[in-house]
Symmetry: C2
Subunit: 353 residues, 2 copies
C-alpha cells in the first residue's frame, strides 16, 4: 500500500469555491498491484488542469443549470482533464509507461475509468506521442481543454472570417484560451489588429509577449472607449460576458462575428447577460456559442494536434503556467474565478520522469 494524496469534493459552494471546505485534501492509500482496474488503467498523475467551468459542476445533482457539465459527486475525488503515465493496464490499447491525456482525478494515482458516480461530458483517456521538448503539463493547457476550445472554435468560425477582417478583440485574454486565440489569429491572418483586455500589469505583460497590438487593463481603461478608438470590431472572442460584452456589442462592425466561449461573470452567480442584445439584429451579427465537443465546431477536433503541435514547436503558440501543488488544488480551482493566476492554472502532482 502506498499513500495516495487525493482532493475530495466535500461541499456544494453557494458562491465562490472555498479551498478546504468545497474541496479537501486527504491522504488515502492504494495498493498499486491489486487495486481493481475493471479493464482500465492505473495512472500515476503528473498534472491536473484547473478550468473555470469546474465551478458549474459543483452543484446539487438535480440542478440542471449548465447541464452540459455533469455535477461532481460529494465524497468522491474531483475529476477533470489531466496527464500522467500508465503504471498498470488491463486495456489492450494502453501499456505501462504510456504518456496519457484525458479524464483523470486530482490524486497521485488515478484509475480510469473511475466509478460511475464520476460522470464527465468528455470521458476519454488517450496515449499521446509527446515530443520531448514539450513539457507534460502543456497537455493540460495549450494542448488540453483550453487549447482545444480555442482551436476548434477559432478554426471553425474565426479563421474564415479573419481572412477579410481588420480587427479582433479578445476579453479575459491573458488566460490559456485567450493567449491561444491571440496567437492563432495572427497565424490565420498576420495583418489582423488584435485588441485584448486583462486585469493586471502582469497580465498586460503577457499580452505584449503574445503579440497583442492593443493590450489594455480593463480596470484602468474604459473598454468601450478603447474599442471605439481602435475598432470597429470584426471578431469578438468573449470569455467574460456582462459589461464587456455590452461594450463590444456597440462597437461591432456590421456582419461581425462573436464567439461566446465563456462567462466568468456568470459561473458564480445565477446568470449574466447584456443590455444591448438588440445590436445583434441591428448590426447583422452572428454569435456562435460552444462547449468543447458539441455542435459544428466538434468537426475541427481531429485536426487539433496535427495543426497545433508544430505551431508550438515553432514558437508561434506559447504557454505560461501558474503552478500549484496537489494540496493547493482548491486555490487553483478558485484562482481562475478571481483572475489570480498569471498563466494557465495547473496542479503539478508529480515530476514527469
Amino acid at each position: 500500500m502506498v499513500k495516495n494524496g487525493t482532493i475530495l469534493y466535500a461541499q456544494h459552494p453557494t458562491g465562490l469555491i472555498e479551498p478546504g471546505v468545497t474541496v479537501k485534501y486527504v491522504e488515502q492509500e492504494i495498493d498499486l498491484d491489486s487495486a481493481p482496474l475493471n479493464g482500465g488503467v492505473l495512472v500515476k498523475v503528473i498534472a491536473m488542469s484547473s478550468d473555470p467551468y469546474m465551478r458549474y459542476r459543483m452543484r446539487e445533482p438535480d440542478n440542471k443549470h449548465a447541464a452540459f457539465s455533469p455535477h461532481l459527486t460529494l465524497g468522491y475525488p474531483v475529476d477533470n482533464f489531466g496527464v500522467g503515465r500508465v503504471v498498470r493496464s488491463e486495456d489492450p490499447n494502453l501499456k505501462v509507461g504510456d504518456f496519457v491525456e484525458g479524464y483523470l482525478t486530482f490524486q497521485e494515482y488515478s484509475i480510469f475509468p473511475g466509478p460511475k458516480e464520476q460522470q464527465h461530458f468528455l470521458k476519454y483517456l488517450v496515449k499521446i506521442d509527446r515530443p520531448p521538448s514539450i513539457p507534460a503539463s502543456v497537455y493540460t493547457g495549450t494542448l488540453g481543454l483550453a487549447g482545444k476550445s480555442a482551436f476548434v472554435a477559432f478554426d471553425t468560425w474565426g479563421k474564415p472570417k479573419a481572412k477579410d477582417s481588420k480587427t479582433l478583440f479578445v476579453s479575459g485574454a491573458a488566460g490559456p484560451v485567450g493567449t491561444f486565440v491571440c496567437e492563432y489569429a495572427k497565424v490565420c491572418n498576420p495583418n489582423l489588429q488584435v485588441i485584448a483586455s486583462a486585469g493586471s500589469p502582469e497580465k498586460i505583460a503577457i499580452l505584449k509577449q503574445v503579440g497583442v497590438d492593443v493590450p489594455f487593463n480593463y480596470k484602468e481603461q474604459d473598454t468601450a472607449a478603447v474599442l471605439r478608438e481602435h475598432g470597429p470590431i470584426d471578431i469578438y472572442w468573449d470569455n467574460v460576458c456582462g459589461s464587456t460584452l455590452d461594450a463590444a456589442l456597440v462597437n461591432m462592425a456590421p456582419t461581425g462575428l462573436i464567439i461566446a466561449c465563456g462567462a466568468i461573470a456568470a459561473a458564480n452567480t445565477n446568470g449574466d447577460g447584456c443590455n444591448h442584445f438588440e445590436e445583434i439584429f441591428e448590426r447583422s451579427l452572428t454569435v456562435h456559442g460552444f462547449t468543447l465537443g458539441t455542435g459544428e465546431s466538434a468537426a475541427a477536433m481531429p485536426r487539433f494536434y496535427e495543426v497545433v503541435t508544430p505551431l508550438i514547436l515553432e514558437g508561434k503558440i506559447t504557454t505560461r503556467e501558474h503552478r500549484y501543488s496537489l494540496k493547493e488544488a482548491g486555490e487553483a480551482l478558485l484562482a481562475v474565478h478571481l483572475g489570480k493566476n498569471t498563466g494557465k492554472a495547473v496542479v503539478i502532482v508529480s515530476d514527469d520522469e
Copy 2:
C-alpha cells in the same frame, strides 16, 4: 395642380411616436404634368407600409444608434416601402401604368427617387408582375419588407435546421413577420411543432388560423413555463428580445438556433438585453441577427418572389391587414409599437384601379 396629401416628419420623438406631433398630415399640391422627375418616375401611391424599424429612423441626424437605418429628415415627407402605379416616367425601365413596389413616400403622389435628404438603406423601385388575385397591398407586407425579412432569414438559417428539428418558437408571432415564419416553417417541415406567443385574444385567433400548434397569450401565461412544457426549443425566432428572450434561452435545446429579427422592446428605449446570455455558450447555441439586405441572408433575396408567390396563390402563406387611411399614418406608425394592430399595419392611400 392637384391636392397631394402628405405625411411630414415634424419632430424627433423622445419616447413613443405621437401622431400629429412626430408626424403631421398636410395638404400639398403637385403639378402632375410638370413636377420635375430628374430621370425618375411619378407614382400614384396605393399603399404604404408601417414597420417597427421606422421608430429607429426618427432621431437626430448625428445619433448613430441603429445606424443600419438612415434617419428621417425634419420637414420632408416620411418615406418607407410602398406600392403604386406609375403615372409619368423618365425612366426607360418603367412605363406609365406599371405596378411598382419599393421606396416611396407617405403621399398621394410620390416622386422616385426623391431628394437626397430622403436617404434609405434600401432605395429601389421595381416593376412587379402582380397576379390579379393578389391584392396590391399584400406587396407592403407578406410580399414586402415583412415577408422578405421572414423569408431570407428563415430560408438561410431556419430551413436547413428545421429538417432535423422538433420545435420552433416564434415571439411577437401575430404580426406579418411572425405569421410568415410560422407558415413557412411548416412548408419546410410539416412535422415541426410551432409554439407562438402574442398579446391579445384576437392575435391568438390569428395564430390558430396560421396553424400554430401551441399558441399562447404571454400576458396570461408564463412564457418560460409554456416553453418548459412543450420544449426544448430547437429554433427560436425572436421579434421581441428582453424577458421573452431570457425565457427562450433557458429552454433552448443544445446546439439550438436563434434568429434575431427585432427587438420591439428596444426601439423606444436605449437598448434591451437579456440576463442569460451565458446560455449561448453553455448550450452551444448559434444566434444569427440580420437586417434585410445585409450579410449572409441577402443571398436568399433573389429567390423570394419565385418561392413565395406560388405559396400565397396556394394559400400556404396568408395575409391579414389592419388598414389605416393616409391621415391615420401616425396611428399606424405608433400601433406596431403598442401591438394595437391586428394583422399587417398598412396605410391605404388610394384604391388600386
